[in-house]
């Protein structure tokens, strides 16, 4: 049996398949199909210090090979998470990644401090949400802002690794990745959604009430592979790759581009078993090709 386990910044995942933040709630919604322990990890719904209502509907729109969303970080707030969700999740046998966001640097600091020693296994700093007016991606689109938020939260995160989730809506994602690495990020995850828009030609109104939203799904996969490849060649910290991964072949491709682990998002909405099928596919791929360890394919693309 080949090894599927991967280690990201000291945390061991039994397999490299993680469900992406915002697509898997707090882990309860797919549990009647398969146990959370089948997954390498779960990146939980993005949390803020106080509860957030999110954006008005419609919040989702289908696109060719993908979808737009403008949920706007609706969440019950970190205290409700700690009281109602974490106790339930603690012994599920999967890596728990708390995805956190804020409107100000102080909010990022306070939520990181609250979660650091709470029992979650990793913090994913969301500086890339395209759907909120304050904070979110505004922290992730310049090297200075990205560096300043990581610098501010770094002392608050002492017990678990700090991963920073990057937005693709920038001129050069490698510069942002290097900026957060320089401030002590333990890993980066990419890509968050690409900013997009659809218009109803009958009403002449955008389909999303927020007018614009984040594009995900297979449509963005090649962009994600390219960005993971570029970032992986510029940073020494592990890269977690995501963006449109739907099949085990996509997962292999993303890992060859340089991802040490992968996250699955929109694919769940087409097939809720997608992460399970990817784990099975990766197992078979390793066995069929006589590969003893999944880690040996990471970054192994041979560029022309």
């Amino acid at each position: 049996m080949s090894n599927l386990a991967v280690k990201i910044a000291g945390v061991t995942f039994k397999n490299p398949v993680i469900t992406a933040s915002g697509t898997y709630g707090f882990g309860r919604e797919y549990e009647c199909l398969y146990p959370l322990s089948a997954l390498g990890g779960v990146s939980l719904k993005g949390m803020t210090p106080a509860p957030r209502m999110g954006n008005p509907p419609p919040r989702v729109a289908e696109t060719p090979s993908g979808m737009l969303n403008s949920v706007g970080l609706q969440n019950p707030g970190v205290e409700a998470f700690l009281d109602n969700e974490l106790p339930y999740l603690k012994d599920k046998g999967t890596v728990l990644i708390a995805n956190v966001a804020g409107s100000t640097i102080d909010e990022y600091r306070s939520i990181c401090e609250r979660l650091d020693n709470s029992g979650v296994h990793m913090i994913e700093l969301n500086i890339s949400c395209p759907n909120v007016k304050q904070g979110g991606a505004s922290f992730g689109t310049s090297c200075e802002n990205a560096a300043s938020v990581v610098r501010a939260v770094r002392p608050m995160v002492k017990h678990v690794p700090l991963m920073v989730k990057l937005t693709p809506n920038v001129t050069d994602i490698t510069a942002i990745a290097q900026a957060v690495e320089a401030e002590g990020a333990d890993a980066v995850s990419l890509i968050n959604t690409l900013l997009g828009m659809r218009i109803d030609i009958k009403t002449r109104r955008p389909i999303l009430k927020n007018n614009v939203g984040g594009l995900s799904g297979p449509a963005i996969f090649p962009v994600a592979v390219r960005m993971v490849w570029q970032v992986a060649s510029k940073v020494k910290i592990p890269v977690v790759g995501m963006g449109g991964i739907t099949t085990w072949q996509d997962a292999v491709e993303m890992m060859m581009a340089g991802a040490s682990a992968i996250q699955i998002g929109a694919a769940l909405f087409t097939d809720p078993y997608a992460p399970i099928k990817i784990v099975e596919g990766l197992t078979k791929y390793l066995d069929d090709n006589g590969i003893a360890d999944i880690n040996s394919i990471v970054g192994q693309v041979q560029p022309w």
């Binding site: 915002g22 697509t23 898997y24 709630g25 309860r28 919604e29 797919y30 009647c32 199909l33 719904k45 209502m53 999110g54 954006n55 008005p56 509907p57 419609p58 919040r59 989702v60 729109a61 289908e62 696109t63 090979s65 993908g66 979808m67 969303n69 949920v71 609706q74 389909i207 799904g217 297979p218 929109a266 769940l268 909405f269 087409t270 097939d271 809720p272 078993y273």
Partner: protein, 258 residues
Amino acid sequence: MNYRQGVFTLAKCEQLAETTYSFVITCHEIASLAKAGQFAHLRVPGFSLRRPISICEVLPQEGAIRVVFDIRGEGTKALATLKSGDSIDIMAPLGNGFSLLEPDKKAIVIGGGIGVPPLLEIAKHYGENSRAVLGFRSKTAVILQNDFASAGCGVHLCTDDGSMGRKGFVTAILKEQLDAEKPDILYACGPRPMLKAVAALAKEYGVRCQLSLEERMACGVGACLGCACKTRKDGKETYSHVCKNGPVFEAEEVVFDE
């Protein structure tokens, strides 16, 4: 939450009206779990998002569910090409269904267009103690009126253009029915303006009312928070989700503000 996902066989496909289709899907386990007002999330090959379609009938004898849908766009157009014997990937039953009182209570169901199908199970439950007020665009869109009648339900039909039944909207008939005999509960599904008018009448007459809502949806299980709808609980407004908290809500919870 207890649902299943899988590929099942279409036992029967029928065209009910100009753009409306009915599927009977053989899925024993799902049929044993499903309740009135829940929905199925249908995968359409070639499309990223599933289509949420309300369950029209639960057929435990056949180990099947029946869904009825209208062609609204490219996805439902593709669905409509499926034939008996084809397979279909569904997740079901999803959401919370209608609250059904004892069958000797009196109920009125109010349906507008493609909002009519999820009400059929209610009519079957209350039988002769139910009345249905069903509204459609025109004669070419009328569906299921015989199914409601077979359930023992008193059917009152109207169309926007008067081509079948009474001319006008369901609310005029509903008001007459409420005046004639006040029921214990109302159930409605249809366009948002219709639901708003029904909710107002229910409040006026002091009758409990449940509404089944619709919203653009992605996951179908409450994981993505896409299908938000504004609701009020304890005087406080929030966004609930049609897939998990609904699709059925108490009328007084729903905030109609746009």
